[in-house]
Symmetry: C2
Subunit: 115 residues, 2 copies
């Protein structure tokens, strides 16, 4: 069944392991800046920074976003390598990829958070 969607037969527990994060070596500053080039996403990053780790739905609530929109914005941040998502049942715990960002772009995250 070549046309089967990639995650069609993925069970709940294995699906949670499939959350994709770019390797630290592939992090790209243009991609990261594109992801952060939105006041709302900077706000999300600030909140995650303050909390350390936070449930995605709590994060959406804090900024007054519906889950679908919040999920879209978090995906931009995760795919750019800014945030990490960890499965927590059917939801996700979100944190910043602080060390990874610092190792590739020293000072950058601090600058964004302090601006």
């Amino acid at each position: 069944m070549l046309s089967m969607p990639a995650n069609a037969s993925v069970t709940k527990s294995s699906r949670t392991e499939r959350i994709r994060h770019p390797e630290v070596g592939t992090l790209d500053l243009a991609t990261i800046m594109r992801a952060l080039g939105d006041p709302l996403r900077i706000e999300l990053v600030r909140l995650v920074d303050q909390e350390g780790e936070i449930l995605c739905t709590e994060l959406y609530e804090r900024v007054g976003l519906p889950n679908s929109t919040g999920s879209y914005h978090l995906r931009q941040l995760r795919e750019a390598g800014v945030t990490r998502a960890r499965a927590n049942g059917t939801k996700r715990m979100i944190s910043l990829r602080r060390e990874d960002l610092e190792s590739r772009f020293p000072g950058f995250l601090g600058l964004v958070l302090s601006s």
Copy 2:
């Protein structure tokens, strides 16, 4: 003539004075990161940095862009406050708003240029 387009009767010499640049106090990091969230625009910024000031058309040539596309990308950078355009006849000399960026977001430009 209230409906006359804003620049309809602008002569060449006064038109050159109308190139708009955001005030340093209004520079916004999200807007700047959106403008820089493109490898091509980062490359343009690097070239302008190396040259100090460069003719827009020479810049387009250096990255192999048609004038129309190059002009689009430079407008993104200028409107975000990253670059300054100075009229030079019918063309423009482009430079970086180094001091303005440094005063608002210390270290940011250097970080982008060195990445």
